[in-house]
């Protein structure tokens, strides 16, 4: 074990001891925060997956990804505007609308992300690594700009469609649970499991892993790498879009600039778990969500960003490969 390994374990150990103390002293608050943290982390996990998949396959940090996430919530809210839905009762109308909004927005955002790759990244595939990074930042500004032109800097309301209020919340052992928390967690678990099965078992999933490991060899095995890379952007965006709508349904308020901070935090999560590593991104997202929630509650929310990005720095210093390593591990 090297010095940096010790540093890493000492940091993790200290955090765990501090949290354990809190858990013993005031279990009710602790589990309440844990509940928020998991729900929040589930959303970050969905966004972090897109960062990590794209990095894994073309070693690009797609800075536009956070804005893609926001755009999906904005488009979702616009589509819901066409329907007369009620925020107070959850009836068949609301259920059907939700069922409709998810796939429609996921497909649209997938298409937009594929277009971004086609326009801004593919022409630079063989350029120095820095060039597509710059166009990625440019795409981030463009997507934000579009949302700014559309809504200005005002807060955008996302209809509070999920069942809520009395009857859909309960205290279990003094901890307050809502239907929304459960919904977020279950939806994220389903999406992440689908992705895992897809990557490991499907033909396209294998093509993606092959392309990530050796692009030339993959081509010569008959894999159309352009199609495979497009598919990666599509799937990454689909997950971010699901995350965006879930975010909207959960928090109900957002603005055009949301993707900047969510994107950076999700990127931190991806690095935390090991960039390029798919289970790592899911785990990293969950952990960052927990760190945020604990920090908000025990340290003070004004410190949260400092803590999250200190983690980014600490991980880069002490364990540059992240928790689970940078490469995609196998069964």
């Amino acid at each position: 074990m090297t010095f940096t390994d010790y540093g890493f374990y000492v940091l993790c150990g200290t955090a765990i001891v501090l949290l354990a103390t809190q858990a013993v002293l005031d279990p009710r608050t602790f589990f309440q925060v844990l509940d928020f943290g998991i729900a929040d982390g589930a959303i970050y996990a969905l966004v972090a997956l897109g960062y990590t998949m794209v990095y894994g396959i073309i070693e690009l940090i797609n800075f536009a990804h956070g804005d893609i996430f926001t755009l999906s919530a904005v488009i979702g809210s616009a589509i819901l505007g066409f329907f007369t839905v009620s925020e107070n009762t959850f009836s068949l109308t609301e259920f059907v609308t939700l069922l409709l909004v998810f796939p429609v927005v996921m497909l649209m955002i997938g298409g937009i992300n594929v277009t971004i790759e086609r326009v801004a990244y593919r022409p630079l595939r063989n350029a120095p690594r820095l060039a597509p990074l710059i166009t990625a930042i440019g795409m981030s500004f463009i997507v934000e700009g579009v949302m700014y032109l559309w809504h200005g800097s005002a807060i955008i309301h996302f209809p509070d469609l999920l069942p809520h209020g009395p009857g859909f919340q309960t205290y279990i052992g003094g901890v307050f649970f809502t239907f929304k928390d459960i919904f977020v967690i279950v939806a994220a678990v389903i999406l992440v499991s689908l992705l895992a099965v897809f990557i490991n078992a499907s033909k396209l999933g294998k093509a993606m892993r092959a392309t990530a490991q050796d692009r030339d060899a993959a081509q010569l095995m008959g894999i159309d790498i352009n199609r495979t890379i497009s598919a990666t952007f599509f799937i990454g965006a689909v997950l971010a879009a699901a995350g965006g709508i879930i975010y909207g349904l959960y928090f109900n308020n957002l603005d055009y600039h949301l993707g900047f901070s969510v994107g950076l935090i999700a990127f931190t999560a991806a690095v935390f778990g090991g960039i390029g590593n798919i289970p790592g991104a899911a785990l990293g997202g969950l952990l960052i969500g927990l760190v945020k929630a604990f920090s908000d509650n025990y340290v003070g929310s004004r410190w949260t960003h400092i803590i999250v990005f200190s983690i980014l720095i600490a991980v880069l210093v002490f364990r540059p490969t992240g928790l689970l390593g940078m490469r995609v591990p196998e069964k």
Binding site: F198, A201, S202, K203, L204, G205, K206, A207, R209, A210, Q213, D214, D216, A217, A218, Q219, L220, M221, G222, I223, D224, I225, R327, V328, P329, E330
Partner: protein, 259 residues
Amino acid sequence: MTDNLDDNILVLNNVTKRFGGLVAVDDVSLSIKRGEIFALIGPNGAGKTTLFNNVTGLFKPTSGHVILNGKDITGSKPHEVARLGIARTFQNIRLFDYMTCLDNVRVGRHVRMHSKLWDGLFKLPAERREEARVTEEAMELLRFVGIARQAHQYARNLPYGQQRRLEIARALATEPKLLLLDEPAAGFTPQEKVELMALVRKILDRGVTVWLIEHDMKVVMGISERIVVLDHGEKIAEGPPEEVRTDPRVIEAYLGKSA
């Protein structure tokens, strides 16, 4: 396989590849007969691998034509070339390190699969059957090259010689009509070289034409029926091994001009 009247599987017509001012492959023409073992030799930097890259679509020739089975495939993309029936291995082994041997070979098989994306997503019975068949065929190929026992190991954990065999199995998985081997015996012990020659002959028996780049003269002279010699990107000799071996230009290219 012999239904084609033309008995040349691959024809290169005046293939030239320039990188800026450097002519890496200079006006090379050659033809490879169906069912033969054809060798390409030449000193380091002669342009042998570059020629392979031009044939497999990694490079587009500056001029000239690559004709496979009578069809012009010049400038096709690598994955199209693979589908048309050319497979290759690499001088420096390029496996999918973080996949099992079985998965490496299965990736190669996928070119010949029919199932679509949604079949895989929903695990339809047809897709399951096809996947099971692909796994069985991949195992058969691993047995063929003699590394079936390592099927579930990561490719990166295999010893060097077995990695070379795995690369051949992966290439064969795409069901090529023509297999390009780039220095398959590099770094092999004499015993391994003998085994490799036996394996190449077995590949030929499967109906696959073999075109190899090799430095080891024992291997080249031992198995190839015809040899082309490249030097500075130019073809300087062509013919059966005995003839090439004694060609003064070839001796000069390898040993330098005597005084």
